[in-house]
């Protein structure tokens, strides 16, 4: 683990008496290595190390009896500052229904997450409508219908050939039924696909969602920054959901996403079943990143 590696570094340095800035840099190289192995983005790491260094190159480390602990403490504090606190609140529209748009790359877990979020809200006593707005992927609509049946939630399947129209109709339907939330499951797409990103902007303009959530795979590497940044610039993300956290991925993408968008990661997918969904805990991802 990082703290063990830092203990080792400082143990070797202890023999030479007072620590120097160069010694602190040796420790920071170890922190950098841990973060890169954890898939935190290269530039995010660079920024992060600079912040830690600014705080570490001061009396508290150089004259500390426990420099390894001090560095870990600073790293932990800086991580917590960036990640923020657990924040699973979903915004509510002035007039129901509240529309939630789920967006993201192909295969990140949007359709499954639509089911999970729907179940989560239903358990809280909310009325939810799921909208099958992925008209592209083979059997995507069927996939959401099956999930809806499993948890007893209605799924709106439009007759329109166009996702924007389906979303508009779905929201209207949720309004007619007096429901609280309408969750839009959109097709996976690349952040660099101009046509498909424009389609999301059209959906946003048509239905004015209170939440636009990026559904991202927790195993994502360096590219997390590009994806999050672009989706945020084009749509204005209100939050993110990190999926597949039940894997052994270190989850550095969480730090990257939060650092470049400022959007809170609200929920975590922790399994294939619809119940395997929880509020995202920033301290837990910090522990994973630090290894």
């Amino acid at each position: 683990s990082l703290s063990e590696r830092l203990q080792e570094i400082f143990r070797r340095l202890r023999g030479k008496g007072r620590l120097s800035e160069a010694d602190v840099d040796a420790a920071l190289r170890e922190v950098r290595l841990a973060f890169l192995e954890a898939d935190v983005n290269y530039l995010v790491v660079k920024d992060f190390i600079a912040r830690v260094r600014a705080r570490a190159v001061g009396k508290e480390i150089l004259e500390s009896l426990t420099p390894a602990q001090q560095v870990i403490k600073i790293v932990h504090e800086e991580l917590t500052t960036i990640m923020g606190r657990a924040e699973a609140k979903l915004d509510r529209a002035a007039v129901p229904p509240s529309t939630v748009m789920l967006v993201g790359l192909q295969g990140s877990g949007k359709t499954t997450t639509a089911g999970k979020l729907g179940l989560y809200l239903r358990k809280q006593g909310r009325g939810v409508l799921l909208v099958a707005a992925d008209l592209r992927r083979p059997a995507a609509v069927k996939q959401l219908q099956v999930l809806g049946e499993d948890i007893g939630l209605p799924v709106y399947v439009g007759t329109a050939r166009d996702p924007v129209a389906v979303c508009r109709e779905g929201v209207a339907e949720a309004g007619r039924r007096g429901l609280d939330y309408v969750l839009l499951d959109t097709a996976g797409r690349l952040h660099v696909d101009e046509e498909l990103m424009a389609e999301l902007e059209e959906i946003k303009a048509a239905v004015r969602p209170v939440e636009i959530l990026l559904v991202a795979d927790a195993m994502t590497g360096q590219d997390a920054v590009n994806v999050a940044k672009t989706f945020h610039e084009r749509l204005g993300l209100t939050g993110a959901i990190l999926t597949k956290l039940d894997s052994d991925t270190r989850g550095g993408a969480a730090l990257s996403i939060r650092a470049v968008t400022g959007a809170p990661i609200k929920f975590a997918g922790v399994g294939e079943k619809l119940e395997q969904f929880e509020v995202f805990h920033p301290e837990r991802i910090a522990a994973r990143i630090l290894g």
């Binding site: 290595l33 890169l36 192995e37 954890a38 898939d39 983005n41 290269y42 530039l43 790359l105 192909q106 295969g107 990140s108 877990g109 359709t111 592209r136 992927r137 083979p138 059997a139 995507a140 069927k142 996939q143 959401l144 219908q145 099956v146 999930l147 499993d150 690349l190 952040h191 660099v192 795979d217 195993m219 994502t220 590497g221 360096q222 590219d223 997390a224 590009n226 994806v227 597949k244 039940d246 894997s247 052994d248 991925t249 270190r250 550095g252 993408a253 294939e272």
Partner: protein
């Protein structure tokens, strides 16, 4: 990037940034830069362009030390398509079947993902579009039973190739790995003279976790090669280099889109050009 003329510490830092941001990972990046520095010293390299070329050849050397020799046009092969959730297994299985169909090879698809919602329908939709038969049971059936029927149908109807699509599963789930072992055993027993090729499908957007995935899937089903999907995005898929360097798993094919034609042979030179491009 990398346009400066002279070679100095900052130049090496820039090379390191390119590799790290491409998901090559710290360990393999350090190894590659270490080798480059040795060559700089030995061959007295001073020009930035020459150094970049030298780094490219180091990467190409890694790729040629571990090549996949997969020929999608080969006859008499059973493919077992495995990997974690959402990486593109089903779509890749369909793309492979399309390629074989075009080559006039008799190919059968087997829908062995009996777990995920509408997984069977997804593969069936592709099968219908391609005019390729799909062997399936109902949702919740035993995947090994579907695989068994698939191989039996291939024997009975004289199909040359079989592509078995399996459910996504994390390499950290022991029970799901056990299920996959069982599917593999059943497939092996039904080969009937055909060769088995286990393919690991990896998502190019995945970071260092790809190495863990590769390690486990090889232990469990002996995956001999990988398919790297979604290279049409901005992820560089540098884990491909780490996979060859640290695991000895070569990339055979790359997925470059959601269309049925978007499957290509992995060409190291093209990959390296895109990496430094």
């Amino acid at each position: 990037l990398l346009r400066r003329g002279k070679v100095d510490e900052e130049f090496f830092a820039e090379l390191e940034a390119v590799l790290l941001q491409a998901d090559v990972g710290p360990a393999t990046t350090e190894k590659l830069l270490g080798r480059l520095k040795e060559r700089v010293a030995r061959e007295r390299l001073v020009e930035a362009e020459v150094l970049k070329e030298a780094l490219a050849t180091e990467v190409l050397a890694l790729f040629s030390s571990c090549r996949a020799d997969l020929d999608l046009s080969a006859r008499g092969v059973v493919y077992l398509v495995v990997g974690v959730n959402g990486v593109g297994k089903t779509t890749t299985a369909a793309k492979m079947a399309a390629h074989m169909r075009k080559e006039g090879i008799g190919v059968l698809l087997v829908a062995a993902d009996t777990f995920r919602a509408a997984a069977i329908e997804q593969l069936e939709t592709w099968g219908a579009r391609l005019g390729v038969e799909v062997i399936r049971h109902g949702p919740g059936a035993d995947p090994a039973a579907v695989a068994f029927d698939g191989l039996a149908a291939a024997r009975a109807r004289g199909y040359e190739n079989v592509i078995v699509d399996t459910a996504g599963r994390l390499h950290t789930k022991a029970n799901l790995l056990e299920e996959l072992r069982k599917v593999r055993r059943v497939v092996e027993a039904g080969l009937d003279g055909r060769r088995l090729c286990s393919l690991l499908v990896l998502d190019a957007t995945t970071g260092q976790n790809a190495l863990h995935q590769a390690q486990v899937f090889r232990e469990v089903v002996g995956t001999g090669a990988a398919v790297l999907t979604k290279l049409d995005g901005t992820a560089k898929g540098g884990v491909a280099i780490a996979l060859v360097d640290r695991i000895g798993l070569p990339i055979a094919l790359v997925g470059v889109g959601e269309g049925i034609e978007d499957l290509r042979e992995f060409v190291p030179e093209e990959f390296v050009a895109a990496l430094f491009g």
